[in-house]
Amino acid sequence: MTPEHLLLHWLSSRLAPPALEWLNAQAVAVRGADRDGDLYLSFTLVPRKTGKADLLLSTEELAAARAARAGWDPSDLSVDQAARLVLLLATQTPADRFAHRLEQLCVTADVAELVLLYRGLPLYPEPERYRLRAAEGIRTNMRAVFEAVAHRNPYASEQLPEDAWNQLVLKALFVGSALHPIVGLDRRANPRLARMLSDYAHERWSASRPVSHELWRCVGPFAEGDLVDDLARVLAKGSPPEKQAAALALSASPDPNAAALLRAAPELSAAIAAGTLSWPSLTAA
């Protein structure tokens, strides 16, 4: 099934009959409509018709989502968000017109609509069209909107060029968002980002402000020279989670000094070797 069919299928068992009937009728109407206004109006009306309950998808339904679109994670969707996606996807062709309408919806969106429009990025046709829009979502200061692009959303790692990707990771740290829900965090790590993150850590240290231990995850694979010195400092002076993060980062470093530092921390090295200490175990703690 396509994501559009899946969404409608999930809603069919969760919406009251009048709301479902309304949604089906609107989806048919906007699919053929030449007037942009029909979509704008029905899109805005959705929460009044459906309510805003969580969708609460089962394990099987989430697996079906991943099968329909690799990396798609609708686990946090609510029914109004799913219904809005149904309406949007009903109008996905022609792609030119869809892109125009999506931009117009973004320009006039309220907070909840913005969150949903960005959650939908992995489902839109000709995804390369929306790179600038995604970068705009990363530039926002509304954390809920930022996380709609950054967390549990495969779009950014698939589409964003390196500069925009690096801004996404840095911005997450700036607004206090976690790094581990960022899809593609390890795959898109790069030497420039490692350098930027080290500079950021030094700024925070100078201001006596805390540094997220997750940051070192993106530094480790490129940690050489003074970046290893950063990790040595965290390993020596950090809190327990920071020390664990430093050890994990050192274990990914190609620098021989990193291996030497790890040998001096046998307990942490052993935990890493045994698989009991890993990035997932550390961020789940």
């Binding site: 805003k52 969580d54 109004d80 006039t108 907070v111 969150v115 200061n141 954390r143 206090g176």
Partner: protein, 308 residues
């Protein structure tokens, strides 16, 4: 005591104001769309303004535990630029049914020109079509006649009086407004027009039915704490607690609650999905401890923060 400020232009205010308002017990605000002190010249700036009212400003208020709602419309001053006004009327329907939009407003008359009359009527028609409430800004000049005209035109266009809030009332207009069954808002302006002391006398004389107060604080000299301060003054002068609660909270809730977009549970018992989109994040605080539960400390902080 909890307060609602049902008319305040938060875009023009600082985070210090939000902090003091939360500390003083204000749980919800309504921000009517209006002009910016000088006329806009492009519809694009209007779109960005309306979009900020349903987006960024709502998020900003949430940082301080205050729920933000708005009324959207073409204000009477800018109705006089007909070319711009026509373009605004084209895009307005796209915004009116957004979440948290509680009325079409503030609309009405300023100089009472033909253009103002035209766009006031067009917006009343829109409100009737979309089954929305209307919030009317009454003119500062030729006030009594303008207020009566506003009400007559609203009824003529098909609005029920109980679905219209007439704002910026004074001693000269309140009787007409209440007698005709409309809601009467009073704006408390420091130094000018309607002051706190006068409001106490109006409360004494007219009671608390369909009457409420607001600050209309904006980019001019104004006081975002006008509602809690006046509440305190009313209590000090012997107005009953029930009346003060009605005038400073309950009546605004009842009036705008008719929209279905303004519910006490929004701030007393927010649903999880709203917490996800609205009551989250601390980017405004830039590294300070978020104060999202500031209203819990109202009693302790009221004297030291709000009234200094």
């Amino acid at each position: 005591m909890r307060y609602i400020d049902p008319h305040i232009h938060m875009q023009a205010r600082t985070t210090d104001d939000y902090e003091r308002m939360a500390a003083a017990g204000i749980v919800a605000v309504i921000e009517p769309a209006f002009w910016l002190g000088q006329p806009r010249t492009h519809v694009g700036t209007y779109i960005d303004y309306l979009s900020a009212l349903v987006g960024w400003e709502r998020f900003r208020a949430a940082q301080f535990g205050i729920r933000h709602y708005c009324t959207l419309g073409l204000n009477s001053k800018e109705a006089n630029n007909i070319a711009l006004a026509e373009q605004v009327m084209d895009i307005l329907p796209r915004f009116l049914l957004k979440e948290g939009v509680v009325a079409v407003g503030e609309i009405g008359y300023d100089d009472q020109t033909a253009a103002e009359d035209r766009f006031y009527r067009e917006q009343l028609e829109l409100a009737v079509d979309l089954d929305m409430l209307v919030m009317v800004h009454t003119p500062h000049r030729d006030k009594r006649a303008g207020t009566i005209r506003s009400m007559e035109v609203a009824v003529e266009m098909g609005m029920k009086p109980e679905r219209v809030i007439i704002d910026h009332n004074n001693e000269e207009t309140v009787r007409d407004v209440l007698d005709r069954g409309f809601w009467a808002g009073f704006t408390l302006y420091p130094n000018t027009k309607m002051g706190n002391e006068r409001m106490v006398e109006i409360a004494r004389q007219y009671g608390s039915e369909r009457v409420f107060i607001d600050s209309s604080a904006d980019w001019g000299v104004s006081d975002p704490l006008a509602v809690p301060k006046t509440a305190k003054l009313m209590l000090d002068r012997g107005i009953s607690k029930a009346d003060v609660e009605a005038i400073c909270y309950g009546n605004a809730l009842a009036a705008y609650g008719q929209s279905g977009q303004f519910n006490e549970s929004d701030w007393l018992d927010p649903v999880p999905v709203d917490q996800r989109t609205l009551f989250e994040g601390n980017s405004v605080l830039r590294g300070q401890t978020p104060q999202v539960s500031a209203s819990a400390a109202v009693d302790q902080r009221l004297a030291e923060v709000a009234f200094k």
